[in-house]
């Protein structure tokens, strides 16, 4: 799909859209003026699309330095009367939590929607916290879509709710809504001609304790008003008929129970909730009064379940409720059709026939995610590993951070001993350097450096920590799909913009040992690592080389392509390339003659040439592909 198609003013048009693309379409239809983000999977593609179309759509969009900044930027735009949205992954809301809590008190003027993309099963995250609880802790209304079409439609509704009640709305999505493609039917585009204007009113917008005391009461009053409409909201609907079994569900879980019910021909009625905070108590009361069994189908925490049990208790309703709290559904990981069917078998005492093919067990090799062929991080880790080996240091503590480079944990590099969250590489490095006598090396990506490492680096300098800190500067936010960051000369609107020079910034703190290296120059990189490791105090290495995927894409576009191949006449199978550089394109195979040889997979090799540069026998040769 061409991203420009998202802007087409063709009501009724149907497109095959990713959930995140559908959100952008929803924003266009809702006439959103202003958006900000820090990229985080599974929310990242929202920003990628906006990067291409924001200018054409006549809206402002920025990749902010981190989620807290992103939320603040959008909150101010909303206070100025603009329809604004901010989006990030679930843990991004932790970063933004301080600002987030206050926005509920301060309220909003223009519609303000905060999108949280949760990641059950932790496909690309450090935890699977259920951010629906953020709606409760802050007192914000919450909307939960189930599929791509609802991503678009419900987002528009969320803006209406926000403007009706002058409250920000939490729009909670999960991986299998963000990253599911489905057919989305376009609606009309709401024309906008707004210019922000901030009407000063300090008692409304400045949260001094004296005002905050009033604001908390006002927030609860607003929520009472929201509660009046949540029971009759079109986002909450009942499907099917039954006086026996009722299902209450929200989010992606609805899809699994929907298909199971259809497939098995079960007679149940489903209360599909899309507007889940404040909890629609009256609606749920009426629903559970009409059935004998209630099944709650929701991923992660038992939020709907606890609220439903509360409704039953308060109203003295005698009904059997089946959920997580009595062990019918798991509280960890995402659901799938099998999880839902297994629970139905137990609850309804039925046997559901599975027609799965039984594949006789074969021992299969594992295939964990690995650094891509050509990845500059591999070359940096190889150099760090060799430097430590040459200096005979075995117990160096390696703190790492959030990015592709966390994969340095793998053999043979083993460059990851401790990780908490974005930016933790430096704070924890300071702690280890103070608590132990071991050598400490921290690794951080360029985008993560800007996001949350700078206060830690100031801490390291000020408190005289003995740390080697390595900025893996691959000139992009790679893991989330190559978004720009403040170190690059382009911004979220795709415009040329001033950038921050990492080396100058580090020197500006007062740190003297700062060296920039090209990791593809392995020899030089090893040398600089050895110097830094032997330096007393804080030493910063900036290992700078563009992400291989960007380099590859550019060369493919220009039709320039080359790879490396092993000359078997020269190769001695010393295994330095396969076992120590351990490139994902290099493999060993037992040939028909029974001899083990090392090869480079021509479909995976990207021609970086690092293997050729370290080969002691010059056995790796460049091959230009026409």
């Amino acid at each position: 799909m061409k991203y420009e198609n998202i802007l087409l003013d063709e009501s009724g048009r149907r497109e095959f859209l990713l959930g995140n693309e559908a959100i952008v379409r929803g924003a266009i239809e809702a006439g959103v003026d202003f958006a900000s983000t820090y990229p985080g999977t599974p929310s990242s593609e929202i920003g990628n699309v906006l990067f291409y179309i924001a200018k054409k759509a006549g809206m402002y969009f920025e990749f902010s330095t981190n989620e807290k900044v992103a939320l603040e930027v959008s909150a101010a735009a909303a206070a100025s009367g603009l329809r604004s949205m901010v989006f990030f992954k679930h843990v991004g809301l932790n970063v933004a939590a301080d600002a987030f809590m206050s926005t509920a008190y301060v309220g909003t003027n223009g519609g303000f929607v905060i999108i949280s993309a949760d990641d059950p099963s932790m496909h690309s995250s450090q935890n699977e916290q259920d951010n629906r609880y953020y709606a409760l802790i802050s007192g914000m209304p919450m909307v939960e879509p189930s599929d791509a079409q609802e991503m678009k439609d419900f987002l528009k509704e969320a803006f209406e709710i926000s403007e009706r009640h002058k409250l920000p709305v939490l729009f909670r999505t999960t991986t299998r809504v963000n990253h599911v493609r489905g057919i989305v039917e376009y609606g009309e585009i709401k024309r906008k001609n707004r210019e922000g204007y901030f009407k000063k009113n300090p008692s409304k917008y400045v949260i001094l304790p004296s005002s905050a005391r009033r604001m908390h009461r006002e927030l609860l009053e607003k929520l009472k008003k929201v509660e009046e409409e949540v029971n009759s909201s079109p986002l909450n609907r009942i499907e099917g008929e039954s006086s026996e079994i009722g299902v209450i569900t929200s989010g992606v879980a609805y899809n699994y129970i929907h298909d199971a019910v259809k497939e098995l021909g079960l007679k149940v009625k489903i209360l599909k909730l899309g507007f889940t905070h404040p909890f629609p108590r009256k609606l749920v009361k009426d629903f559970i009064e009409g059935v004998k069994k209630v099944i709650i189908v929701e991923e992660l925490e038992p939020y709907l379940e606890k609220e439903t049990r509360l409704v039953a208790q308060i109203n003295g309703i005698d009904v059997d409720i089946y959920g997580k709290l009595n062990g019918y559904f798991p509280r960890v990981y995402e659901y799938n059709p099998d999880v839902v069917k297994e629970a139905l078998e137990k609850i309804l005492d039925i046997k559901i026939e599975r027609n799965a093919y039984f594949s006789a067990p074969i021992e299969l090799p594992s295939r964990p995610p690995v650094l891509c062929p050509g990845c500059p991080h591999r070359a940096t880790y190889y150099a760090a590993m060799m430097a430590l080996k040459q200096l005979k240091i075995k117990d160096a503590i390696i703190t790492t951070d959030i990015g592709c480079y966390t994969l340095g944990i793998q053999k043979p590099y083993e460059m990851a001993d401790y990780l908490l969250c974005m930016g933790s590489s430096i704070g924890t490095a300071v702690g280890f350097s103070k608590a132990t006598k071991q050598k400490v090396i921290g690794f951080v990506g360029d985008s993560t450096f800007f996001h949350a490492s700078i206060p830690g680096l100031i801490d390291a300098y000020h408190n005289r920590a003995n740390v080697v800190y390595v900025v893996l500067d691959n000139r992009t936010t790679a893991m989330t799909g190559h978004q720009p960051h403040p170190g690059l000369p382009v911004n979220g609107m795709g415009e040329k913009s001033p950038y921050v020079d990492i080396e100058k910034l580090v020197r500006g703190i007062g740190i003297d040992f700062v060296k920039t290296v090209d990791p593809y120059n392995v020899k030089e990189t090893i040398k600089v690592f050895k110097e830094a490791i032997q330096h007393e105090g804080i030493a910063v290495i900036i290992s700078q080389r563009e992400c291989a995927l960007l380099w590859d894409a550019r060369r493919r576009k220009q039709g320039e392509w080359w790879i490396y191949q092993i000359n078997q006449d020269k190769c001695t199978q010393c295994s330095l390339c396969s076992d120590w550089l351990a490139c994902a394109a290099i493999f060993k195979r037992t040939d028909k003659d029974g001899k083990v040889r090392i090869y480079i997979n021509d479909a995976l090799c990207d021609g970086c040439g690092v293997c050729a540069s370290i080969c002691p026998f010059n056995a790796i040769e460049k091959k230009v592909i026409k």
Binding site: P42, R176, Y357, L364, P368, L407
Partner: protein
């Protein structure tokens, strides 16, 4: 009508592109389709699986065990790993060229003989082809995914016409590479034993 399809391979083989083309072709054919994909760290060299349901009333973006009527395996080990999604009547397209993971050389894990894998699947409707080699013939290993799509198009249970699939392919791929990709598609279509 309801058809479940699962696509499995290794990052870099174009699994996402191929499955998106099928989704687009379903839309062009007036069919309802839902597809789940994976995104995240390390785009190349890891496992990539996408799951797809085509049918009037379907909503679930994931397939349960036994719900895949067609398995499109871009790599022999990865197709075997996902076979519990298939049922005894499923069609399985297999690219027989392995991509050997680094765990084999670094951790001493064993990559099984491809023969052994195919032998264990013989009671399924298996269409095996040297897709990567065919792609090389078409102009480059990067077109392996199009060879796989060509073979998929020939399966009777696949609900989309070949022409529609080609139309979706053309609207997705950079015109500069149409020739190679279309050639790869045809090679895959003709190599299918069906």
């Amino acid at each position: 009508m309801k058809v479940g399809i699962v696509y499995a391979g290794v990052g870099g083989q174009g699994v996402l592109t191929a499955s998106s083309i099928v989704g687009k072709a379903a839309l062009l054919s007036g069919l309802n389709v839902v597809m789940s994909e994976v995104h995240g760290m390390a785009q190349r060299g890891g496992i990539v699986v996408t799951e797809m349901k085509i049918g009037r009333e379907v909503k679930s973006p994931l397939l349960g065990s036994g719900e895949a009527d067609i398995v499109v395996g871009f790599e022999p080990v990865e197709v075997y790993r996902i076979l519990h999604k298939a049922h005894p009547g499923s069609y399985v397209v297999v690219n027989t060229e392995p991509i050997i993971p680094t765990t084999v050389s670094i951790q001493g894990e064993r990559y099984p003989e491809v023969k052994e894998i195919l032998e264990k699947m013989k009671d399924l409707k298996v269409i095996s082809l040297e897709a990567t080699e065919l792609a090389r013939q078409a102009g480059g290993a990067i077109a392996t995914n199009m060879v796989m799509l060509g073979a998929l198009a020939k399966i009777p249970a696949f609900p989309i016409k070949k022409e529609t699939l080609i139309e979706a392919l053309k609207s997705t791929i950079n015109p500069r590479y149409h020739e190679i990709n279309l050639k790869a598609f045809e090679l895959g279509y003709n190599a299918s034993s069906l």
